[in-house]
């Protein structure tokens, strides 16, 4: 009997090539092709300027330079602005940049010219010889400057407002006015960024013999890139293949597309008739990819004596940078996912999405949820402090109860669908978390530490995450005559172990050996219909699609095997790749079933002889029946009515140094519910990584822009990403498995969860240690030190 793979900690198959240095990332491709050319980009050194003139005359003198492009050299769709990927009626003033700047630059890092040369060194030499005359314009940096609107980022966008959006369920303001207690909070979160270890990169090769373009890109959406490349270069979709090789991390930034280079590289490859590569360097990643997180929030909340939220009114201002290619996804997610596991009786949210002369903003792991969670959880803590109640008690009072699912919030989510939670058990999660972190014993610990002159604090934060957004994913399963199973799904992989997790699903569904399954992701030649890897959707969407496709292949296998074994399909079972009649010795290998599924005229090996025309089939019937097709394959798509909602709770105990204000993590606990777990090892790895990224976002990382729009810390030397010494030494994790009723495997997404509650949970713990409110994140020791000075004269609040 085949061992059940779903739910097992199966070691990852992809590790073998990664550990041997045999991974193939985009910059590794075509390295042995002597015709390969390399590229470099001239980027704006100014945050806001008009381009008066670009002089490239010195460039072509550089030996080894092959070509240079500016906007003037672009034609047709390439000369038009880049697509606005996700339009929304509220985005009344959406703007996107050009592949190469036309007339104006709006952030330091915006692409101006593209040079192709024999190697990157020479291409960079050439870039430095391009002369641009600029007429300087006033830069708009930061949310206060954008709101003040003394200067405009885009002359035709009044007040720097790209969008205004409001949603309401009930009458929040009336409920607040009538509530026994009211609190007001102002809460800020700063900019950060995904910063995967591998930056962006694209390679393209035009094959004149077949008139086909192949593009390899370090992207989170092969099909998205393919659609854009075909449209911009005026090619039929059928002429363009996009392949995503191994990707060195994404975390959201690589879902945006097409980047200028994703179009310029294929354009250059077609124009020059030679393969061309672009590999982003680290500084470029900081100034010309994407950031996220910066938002200012104003909260008014009305509640009763138990802390029950009667009315919640939130207004916030979202800094979306210089352009809006990804629409309003991030602020819409904040505005809806802010609600977490709670059910405020009345809720109103309104936001403005603002232009600034800084790098564009697109989703970064968590995508607006960390800010929303920060706002809601700070509000819960403020209510608890005000009422003198335990923070877990106030939360429990506001929880949606297990018998209230599906729970409708009366709002519209980021996918244009109703915000309706499918399942969860928040009270049970809270019980687990309290136990895991030692919530009830903490006061004892605090006293113990205080006796030693040490200051500690505890915090918790809860979140709900809409995962597995549509519209769909698909899968193709092919059982070869060898019995091996080749599976393709269109979304991409950036380290999540899809080759392992998806193979586990196929092994179980089909009844084959895990080792015989091979998964391909992100290759439009193998699966041209797909969306992408974002929003914790891969396991839910492609996992479900792969399960459904495997079921189809299995149905066909059973039908053919039943005929061959002269048995009823109902009596058959498949295990370890063998179909057998229950209770008998009669059996047939799936490989042989595959042979029988494809009637042949020509034999090419021993196995195929069995399928030739004198060997099989009823001579009175067509070899392939009218409603059938040759081959042992299954293909299917999964398209759910709406997202499935995972949830979790984090708690942290921190120690703050009484002298230096250094913040140390003593304990970190996570309770996580992402439905049924395919591979607990991989899920825990995702949580570890998310928590580390959250620690970075809460305590270390920020984008230090000066008032002229220069990013002062655009290197790993200055942007403080956590090393092993900054993260919790261990994370206590407990799982709850509340299956989703929306998909056949009962799974929910897990990828982003670890990072969502970080800002909230650290703010809560630091506040608990220090006794004054923490309203802005991230927080550094020097900022905490300043806060201590500011609050030095205040009496310690009673909690």
């Amino acid at each position: 009997m085949t061992t059940k793979m779903f739910g097992a900690k199966v070691p990852r198959v992809e590790d073998q090539r990664f550990l041997r240095g045999q991974g193939r990332y985009v910059d590794d491709l075509l390295t042995d092709d002597p015709r390969l050319l390399h590229s470099a980009v001239l980027r704006s050194p100014h945050a806001h300027a008009r381009i008066v003139d670009i002089d490239v005359s010195d460039v072509l003198d550089v030996e080894g330079v092959v070509a240079v492009w500016t906007w003037d050299d672009l034609t047709g769709p390439m000369a038009e602005p880049l697509p606005l990927l996700i339009p929304h009626p509220a985005l009344t003033h959406g703007r996107t940049q050009y592949a190469l700047a036309k007339d104006e630059v709006n952030y330091v890092g915006e692409a101006i010219a593209f040079v192709v040369a024999v190697d990157r060194y020479v291409a960079e030499d050439a870039v430095s010889r391009i002369r641009v005359d600029y007429e300087y314009l006033e830069p708009v940096v930061g949310i206060p400057a954008a709101r003040a609107a003394k200067h405009a980022v885009h002359a035709d966008v009044p007040d720097n407002v790209g969008a205004r959006m409001e949603q309401e369920n009930g009458d929040a303001r009336a409920a607040i006015a009538a509530a026994p207690h009211v609190l007001t909070l102002d809460l800020d979160v700063e900019r950060s960024a995904c910063t995967p270890m591998e930056g962006r990169g694209t390679v393209a090769r035009w094959d004149p013999d077949t008139s086909r373009l192949t593009v390899w890109s370090s992207t989170q959406t092969s099909t998205g890139v393919r659609g854009c490349v075909a449209a911009k270069l005026g090619l039929d979709l059928a002429k363009v293949d996009v392949v995503t090789p191994d990707v060195g991390g994404g975390f959201g930034v690589k879902i945006n597309h097409p980047w200028p280079e994703e179009l310029l590289v294929p354009l250059a490859a077609m124009t020059l008739g030679r393969p061309v590569k672009f590999t982003e360097d680290r500084r470029e990643h900081f100034i010309s990819s994407a950031h996220e997180r910066a938002q200012h929030h104003h909260v008014e909340v009305g509640f009763d004596d138990d802390g029950r939220v009667l009315g919640l009114d939130v207004e916030f201002w979202h800094d979306h940078g210089a352009y809006t290619p990804y629409g309003l996804i991030v602020p819409i997610i904040t505005s809806t996912q802010l609600l977490g596991p709670y059910k405020p009786a009345n809720y109103r949210v309104a936001f403005e999405s603002l232009y600034t002369n800084t790098v564009i903003v697109t989703p970064y792991r968590g995508a607006g949820r960390p800010q929303g969670c920060f706002v809601m959880e700070r509000t819960m803590d403020a209510i608890s402090t005000y009422l003198g109640k335990d923070r877990t008690e106030v939360r429990a009072t506001n929880f949606i109860q297990p018998d209230e699912f599906p729970y409708e919030h009366g709002l519209v989510f980021q996918d244009g669908r109703e915000l309706t939670y499918d399942s969860g058990d928040y009270p049970a999660s809270l019980v687990k978390l309290k136990e895991l972190v030692g919530w009830d014993e903490f006061e004892e610990f605090r006293a113990e530490m205080a006796a030693q002159g040490r200051k500690v604090g505890i915090g918790l934060a809860c979140y709900v995450e809409g995962t597995g957004v549509g519209p769909y994913e698909g899968a193709h399963v092919h059982i070869e005559t060898s019995g091996r199973v080749k599976v393709a799904t269109g979304l991409t992989t950036q380290g999540q172990g899809h080759q392992t997790a998806f193979a586990q699903i196929v092994a179980d569904t089909l009844g084959v050996r895990f080792e015989d399954v091979e998964i391909t992701t992100g290759d439009t030649r193998r699966m041209p219909y797909a969306v992408g890897t974002f929003a914790s959707r891969a396991a839910v969407m492609s996992g479900s699609a792969i399960h459904l496709a495997a079921l189809r292949a299995k149905e066909k296998a059973l039908r053919i095997a039943a005929e061959a074994l002269e048995a009823s399909e109902d009596d058959l079972e498949i295990a370890d790749g063998v179909v057998s009649v229950r209770g008998t010795d009669a059996s047939i290998d799936l490989g042989t079933v595959a042979v029988l599924s494809n009637p042949l005229r020509y034999a090419f090996d021993e196995a195929s002889k069995a399928a030739t025309q004198f060997s099989i089939g009823d001579p009175g019937k067509p070899p392939v029946a009218e409603d059938d097709e040759p081959g042992l394959e299954g293909k299917d798509f999964y398209s759910p009515p709406r997202s499935t909602f995972a949830n979790g709770m984090h708690a942290v105990i921190v120690e703050t140094d009484p002298d230096t204000a250094e913040i140390r993590i003593l304990k970190y606990a996570v309770v996580h519910d992402c439905g049924n777990l395919i591979n607990p090892m991989i899920v825990e790895g995702q949580i570890h990584g998310g928590v580390a990224q959250g620690v970075g976002g809460a305590l270390y990382e920020r984008m230090a822009y000066d008032e002229s729009g220069q990013l002062l810390n655009a290197s790993f030397m200055d942007f403080l990403m956590p090393y092993a010494t900054e993260v919790p030494t261990s994370i206590d994790i407990d799982h709850l498995e509340t299956p989703s009723p929306l998909n056949p495997l009962g799974i929910k997404g897990a990828g982003e969860a670890g990072v969502i509650p970080s800002a909230a949970v650290f703010a809560a713990a630091i506040e608990d240690a220090e006794g004054f409110p923490i309203t802005s994140m991230p927080i550094s020791p020097s900022e905490l030190f300043e806060l201590r000075l500011a609050h030095a004269d205040e009496p310690h609040p009673t909690v």
Partner: protein
């Protein structure tokens, strides 16, 4: 512009000799990747902070993005491709990463593997704190490091198992 002068450089990598012609400014990381075709060494920052490009130069961990290829002529260089055992099986450090889920996207992994390989030669029996210290100069954005620390300790365990087997046989 004048033609860039090229230098004949003989690099000793993983026991093989690579004759390459490179300009003086060519980074060792680029020479390994693009001239020797050893793309297992990855470049994450090109300013010596992330450690992804770490290779062993005469056994010592070195950021290959901070070294010029022309200055590596007399050295024995080991890259991730050279870490596997002679029979092609994974080294104890490599095996430990697989056992402990010490990698996700795999991009930073070669730098960790080389760093730890050298680290365990210097500190063959590290405590957990020493294991953390060993990897404290390398960045990883996926794993949160907990499983990498575990991998260091597991590698020590595997090495001990192998030594035990050798001493028995």
């Amino acid at each position: 512009m004048t033609t860039e002068q090229l230098h004949e450089v003989r690099l000793h990598v993983n026991g093989s000799v690579h004759e390459v012609r490179v300009p003086a400014r060519r980074l060792l990381s680029d020479a390994l990747r693009h001239d020797c075709g050893l793309t297992g060494t990855h470049v994450g920052c090109e300013h010596g902070v992330c450690g992804a490009c770490t290779v062993l130069v005469d056994g010592a961990p070195m950021r290959s993005c901070l070294m010029l290829a022309v200055s590596a002529v007399d050295a024995e260089i080991t890259t991730v491709e050279g870490l596997t055992e002679e029979d092609g099986s994974l080294s104890p450090v490599q095996q430990a990463f697989s056992d402990c889920h010490g990698l996700q996207c795999g991009f930073c992994t070669p730098g960790f593997l080389t760093t730890i390989t050298a680290g365990l030669r210097e500190t063959p029996d590290p405590t957990e704190d020493e294991a953390r210290e060993m990897i404290a100069g390398n960045l990883c954005r996926c794993t949160g490091y907990q499983n990498i620390v575990k991998s260091v300790l597991r590698a020590r365990e595997i090495q001990a198992e192998i030594q035990g087997e050798r001493s028995r046989s």
